[in-house]
Symmetry: C2
Subunit: 456 residues, 2 copies
């Protein structure tokens, strides 16, 4: 351990008794998120913050020692944004897990960053409200992590992403000063939008210590439609036709590889001759007729098997097929989960490019995702014990990102850049845009201690 | 005319033949927006840009001469953000008025900043789509001005503000470099959100030269409910109850002064014994039943007169009462139109404070606005020929802004800060937040030529 590292660890331990972990084995659990592709360094210390004051002390101390700070929640991230940097301070916020207030008539909650998103949603539901953003990890991921990555999910189709549900934030700057964005009024045009700037900034600008989030009244009803199409093109055409007349909460797509994988895991008996499966969930007072309309449009669009139901349990069973995709793919091998986005009407071209990529590199790619948002998760499945297969998998992953860019899309729709996709940034952002982002970072964090080298 | 001013005017005239106005009388029309309270300087030159290249040349030339640049659209702004600064270059974008593309299946349009918002909406409607943001000025204001102020309107209650409908922007920096925010995918988390940073920045960061905006499918039906309440408190209670079960496109409030003013102008025969009138517009496939629900809730909430209709013409007639409020108040004297926001449940307290303010200063204040967003437009009406009345009107205006801040609200919900509200900024923003905003401005515009001294 270098002297500098020992210094910052000792200074933190002295300043924050009982909050600091420096044991190498104990720190192991704080080194990584869920992204296996990105490297993870060895931290100098881990701070388990319990309060805003703990965060302030951590940032000031790290700043004094020029130590990088990697802020993390539950570590469910998929882009390595929370992976440790060598000799950094890992700032864990899972201990700041209080719901500070729940204003039912005002339909807002003030939460600390360590609150699990699923817990917030469950608390809201006790009062006839809900918190819409629903990343797949919502039961185990924190709202702070969701804010840092501007997390999406299935019901973004209708309700938008995490940023669309944030009214105001309190955050600590790198130098320990506390800022408050907002006010949490529904409309506010006083000054620049610092709230939107912080959401999705992946721990590079400031550390969010509380968030005022918006809740919605629970919809009166939900209804679900499922449609199996011979080709992905027909499925996407139906997505566009559905979007023209209905406003479904979720429109999810699974390709043939995913259908087969789910069948293998669950024996659900999905039609393996289909080229694509579409799952549509509608909500609100006219959910049933909306789902029926979606089903009718899917049938007119060439779907060979169409079902729709207003029974919530049956609907949940259908959606379960979609939720099982990733676990089902994981059963087939090691997975590289991608997260690209294009305009919805470009999805067939993206899907075709993914198919070509799989063939070119001789790898299996299962593709699923949020069709109404044009946001897909092509997942390369490979044998990690085979070095050549791993290289081909990585090459396929790169080609998929490139294909999204060729179509004018994005290298990440909802998982974030992290350390995984930093190498791809120049392929999407122009040098002037990157220069602006770096400049903004310099305004918030002149010493460059917050998650340096990541995000943009 | 100083030498510097003559220099920049001559340089622009030489660089942009046919585009530059320097005649003092001709420049008069470019000196002001609709805000009478804010001062307006005398420009050195007006550039009527027709292309991105014109904008680049204008900014480079102004930068070379250290001349401030005030960018403007149709001049319908209400906060003096487009008022000229002495010796500035006014950059008018009304000549950049092309709709560059309209993608019906993708539901996006690419527009130049000088396109009138109403024209964009009308073009979208020809294809079964619409552009939701509907500031009162939409027939005569440009999309560029709407973007610069992050304009709101009536149907923000359901559809959000201008920023919620922007997918990507092309903009010119102060030094003439062109940036592209985006891509226009529905989800994108690559880097910081430059789109949201530019929207609402009131011409201080960059000049937007095209915008990719999102359109929506036209709703299947609309229905309208009107309810007259004895007190504003009852009206607001009903707004909260309605919001818990329905999702109206617009929820508009008018106080007794507004009711009387509209009656005087239109002979509509609104009930002048009411303390507040609520107008609720619902849309979508279940609009009729939703409006009926709203009417029922209003009645249960103490409304003395309740009507609802699924007839679009009749509904439009009801909404017309709301649209006539401002013209009706203008008939009563000179008006100071304010634009404050609070949490919805704080509206009764804001309304009570406004009433006290009117009594304290002996002025007439008519209050109307977007109840579901907590965004009101208290309008002080006075006799501009009476110096003392003008002073009292201004004092009342100040007190209303202060009342919103006491309630944790905002000094501007949708009109912007401009030059009108710059003096109030320190009452809402902390010094650290302002420092960050100024720092961001320095990143985009290091020479400080873009609308200096305004917005934050």
């Amino acid at each position: 351990m270098t002297e500098v590292v020992a210094d910052v660890a000792a200074a933190l331990a002295a300043a924050l008794p009982g909050r600091v972990v420096t044991d190498r084995h104990a720190m192991e659990a704080y080194r990584r998120d869920q992204c296996l592709l990105a490297p993870a360094g060895r931290p100098a210390a881990v701070v388990r913050a319990r309060s805003t004051d703990d965060v302030i002390t951590t940032l000031r101390t790290a700043g004094d020692h020029h130590a990088p700070v990697v802020t993390r929640g539950a570590g469910t991230g998929l882009a390595g944004a929370a992976n440790a940097i060598d000799d950094c301070v890992v700032l864990s916020l899972t201990g700041m897990d209080r719901i500070l207030s729940l204003d039912v008539p005002g339909r807002t909650a003030i939460v600390e960053p360590g609150v699990l998103t699923g817990v917030l949603d469950a608390r809201a539901r006790e009062h006839g409200l809900w918190y819409p953003p629903d990343p797949g990890s919502k039961a185990i991921s924190t709202i702070g992590g969701n804010l840092a990555t501007n997390a999406g999910g299935m019901c973004c189709a209708k309700y938008g992403v995490t940023a669309d549900h944030v009214a105001a934030l309190t955050a600590v700057l790198a130098d320990g000063r506390v800022i408050r964005t907002g006010p949490p009024t529904r409309k506010n045009v006083t000054g620049l939008d610092l709230t939107r700037l912080l959401v999705g900034s992946e721990g590079t600008l400031a550390v969010i210590v509380d968030a005022t989030v918006r809740l919605r009244p629970l919809p009166a009803a939900t209804a679900t439609a499922v449609a199996a199409f011979p080709t992905p093109q027909q499925a996407v055409d139906s997505v566009l036709r559905i979007a023209a007349v209905a406003d479904p909460a979720a429109v999810e797509l699974m390709d043939r590889t995913c259908i087969r994988a789910v069948n293998r895991l669950t024996r659900m008996g999905l039609d393996e001759s289909s080229g694509a499966l579409l799952l549509v969930q509608c909500d609100g007072p006219s959910a049933d007729q909306e789902a029926a309309t979606c089903a009718r449009l899917a049938e007119a669009g060439g779907a060979t098997e169409v079902l729709h139901t207003a029974d919530p349990t049956e609907g949940e069973m259908f959606m379960q097929a979609r939720r099982m995709v990733y676990p089902a793919l994981e059963r087939l091998g090691t997975t590289l989960l991608d997260d690209v986005g294009v305009a919805v009407q470009d999805l067939p071209r993206l899907l075709a490019a993914i198919e070509r990529t799989a063939a070119d590199h001789g790898v299996l790619v299962g593709t699923f995702g949020h069709a109404a948002d044009g946001n897909l998760h092509p997942t390369v499945v490979y044998d990690a014990t085979d070095r050549d297969a791993a290289d081909r998998a990585r090459a396929a992953f790169d080609d998929i990102v490139a294909a999204a860019l060729v179509l004018g899309g994005t290298i990440t729709g909802e998982h974030g850049v992290g350390s995984l996709k930093t190498p791809y940034l120049d392929a999407q952002l122009g040098p002037t845009e990157r220069e602006l982002m770096t400049g903004i970072k310099g305004v918030f964090d002149p010493g460059g201690i917050l998650n340096p080298g990541r995000g943009y």
